[in-house]
Symmetry: C2
């Protein structure tokens, strides 16, 4: 049996996980899959760095050429993260006719076409299961198990950090700032948490997922993005009273030729399968015309879960060697449909106001909603025996732009002290 030689780019969290899995499950992979996989070289910044894992130091190199120019290495697995130099290395590997397995969501979301074309031109594979939702095989499931479906909706919890923060806020009634700094202390959130809490990370992943789901390229520029920094314990408490749980959702819907894609904090009913996804877990909820509602749930990050996806891609690549390609189902040339990206989507809204405790205020606000064709589904008004009172509305389906206009009008009302928050609601 021929040994398949692999080059790893990066040896951080995921790289270590991949190495561990290949070592520990060597026999299983040999017996079950008939494959002899060997890590030949590992690209690191510092070959002399002390590492937790005991590993033959001759495997390390700080020179990319030792991998790219080694004709014995047929598969390159990349988990350096970021664009530069990961993208350049991936392209170089493809040009040298090496199959690439990557966990890099940002590179895939931004340079997908370019990389796919390079892979195609060189007759090699490009695999990226690990780029979205860690160990959850959502990319393979959409590509190879839902072929008989028109997928028309996808809602994902695809950022573990924000889900951890929102879970803690919801279950312990704590503030965003409080939970974030705890999460940073525990290493669950980055020192600079922007990519997570402002929804950038989820946007990259949604670009990849929705492109596959809808068989049409969804560039990140077309994805509406809103982070979780403005969510308060009060919003969550009132939502709970109305039967809702808050999650940062990555949402993609397709109707006819219209696609809407958005990442924002969202209230969902407590009975929704996504409401049970707690802590740093990820899940992707899909609706297809044949399969109905479906959900995949699991670990969205971590050395071994993400490593599981990388190694699965490596094994798949080995078995598909005759075909040399993976994502034949996604190919720009095949996108015959013209799609348009809409911004004026319809959804339900949760609106929390602080108003003066005076007669007629409610009627005035209700009138403004009516004027903009926003109809109210439920309401909470609490008497605080103070000058100001909270007023909470949940609307029926309404247009995004109508809601914006209604809120602008409401803000101008003399008796409205503050528009505290507007949070979208999905079912």
């Amino acid at each position: 049996m021929e040994e398949i030689k692999i080059g790893l780019l990066g040896f951080g969290n995921v790289g270590t996980g991949v190495y561990k899995i290949l070592e520990e499950n060597r026999n299983d992979i040999l017996h079950r899959e008939g494959l002899k996989l060997k890590v030949e070289k590992i690209l690191v910044r510092d070959v002399h760095k002390r590492r937790k894992m005991i590993i033959d130091s001759s495997l390390f190199t700080d020179n990319i050429k030792d991998i790219i120019d080694n004709p014995e290495i047929s598969i390159v697995a990349e988990f350096m993260g970021g664009i530069d130099p990961a993208k350049e290395y991936i392209l170089a590997a493809l040009e040298k006719k090496k199959t690439v397995v990557t966990a890099n969501k940002e590179v895939m979301a931004r340079y997908w076409s370019e990389l796919e074309k390079a892979a195609q031109k060189n007759g090699v594979g490009l695999y990226y299961e690990a780029s979205v939702a860690g160990g959850i095989p959502i990319i393979k499931v959409m590509g190879e198990s839902l072929q008989a479906n028109k997928v028309y909706e996808l809602m994902g919890i695809i950022n573990g950090t924000t889900n951890y923060i929102l879970t803690k806020m919801s279950e312990e009634g704590r503030s965003f700032e409080d939970v974030l700094s705890e999460a940073q202390r525990l290493g669950y959130a980055e020192p600079d948490p922007t990519a997570d809490i402002e929804g950038f990370d989820a946007t990259y992943k949604l670009s990849i997922l929705s492109s596959i789901a809808f068989h049409a390229r969804v560039p990140i520029e077309y994805i509406y993005r809103e982070g979780i920094t403005k969510i308060t314990a009060e919003d969550i408490a009132y939502g709970k009273e109305l039967g809702y749980v808050i999650r940062l959702l990555a949402i993609a819907k397709k109707q006819g030729f219209s696609i809407e894609t958005r990442v924002h904090p969202t209230f969902i009913p407590m009975s929704h399968p996504l409401a049970a996804v707690r802590d740093s877990y990820n899940a992707i909820f899909i609706r297809g015309d044949a399969v109905g509602s479906m959900m995949l749930y699991g670990r969205g990050a971590g050395d071994l879960p993400t490593g599981s996806a990388v190694v699965s891609d490596i094994i798949t690549a080995c078995h598909q060697s005759e075909k040399h390609r993976y994502t034949t189902f996604y190919n720009e040339a095949q996108v015959s449909e013209e799609v348009n990206f809409i911004k004026n989507w319809e959804t339900e809204f949760f609106i929390r106001l602080t108003v003066k405790d005076k007669p007629g205020v409610l009627a005035k606000i209700a009138g403004i909603f009516g004027k903009h064709e926003v109809s109210i589904a439920s309401m909470i008004q609490k008497n605080h025996n103070e000058d100001s009172v909270p007023l909470i509305f949940v609307t029926h389906h309404a247009k995004e732009l109508s809601m914006k206009k209604a809120i602008d009008d409401i803000k101008c009302q003399q008796d409205v002290i503050r528009v505290e928050n507007v949070i979208r609601v999905e079912n």
Copy 2:
């Protein structure tokens, strides 16, 4: 492009769904997958029967030979259900070098080896994604996305009827008999519901799932089976008080070379992902050494969800034609490990007793548990101001056989009026 001709065996619920999907998604399958699929013949009992769907009557035949002996048909899809004559037809198709796609859990669970061998001998494929959990692609995920894992635990809600019944009982406080007869009226349960409510259906499916998960054949004879008929509204109410939800779980665990497989009503914590699986939905929860905890959720039955799995298998079969085989990962010859099936597994237990309201009863019972090395984790005793009182225990991990002996001893106590129920608890 060559047309791929398909013969359907059966045109009930699933057969109609498959036909519908192939018709409605014809263009998508052509463009995305590059496949021209055509239903050539459909085997039915009565070719003259009036059907809801408008369909060319020349497609129907009541003679299996019109399919088996037609050399143009390369794929046969079976959804007749039951053993006889489905098994014979599947074998005949394989012998005629036709790839078979089946939704038949019973045939697969009972005659897997025989069918696999026939497929292998004839160099054709045998696909059965639709045999377990309808539209949920659990078989492909285990075989083609978790290759880097040692799966050591699997817990599934794989029977929609019982999950519907238990959900209604839990959420509406109703009795088993009451909900069952309603379910029968609504067509959610069969006129003879035995296969579902006594757990036979789940047993077939667990045999298939655990065999794939553990890469070792798990015959149905080795699966412990207990139905839901003895679950009462009281059990459910007390479980709720302790933070549990009841589900009929199909459980498979592997530790070293020991495998335990069992189907029985089970209490799980309300925070467990399986606790959120309501009504007739199915879900499979998996633990693997690399991927960690994972769950797949979706429609476990129905014309289109099951049809989605069948059509996905057909498409996979077409793409894998060079390989001619699908389940190479399951092959008796490759099972090098010796496994043993254990019956004396460890789990937690919920025990509900009715005892006389006399001093010393609790001490006596606690003493019996202690004697059999069963330790108590929590307890509810309620004073009903009557001669008899309910007494509820939840134990720590205990051996199945120790618990049996403890219960036998408790039954003999003078002050114990009844052992109302013993329900296993998983976390």
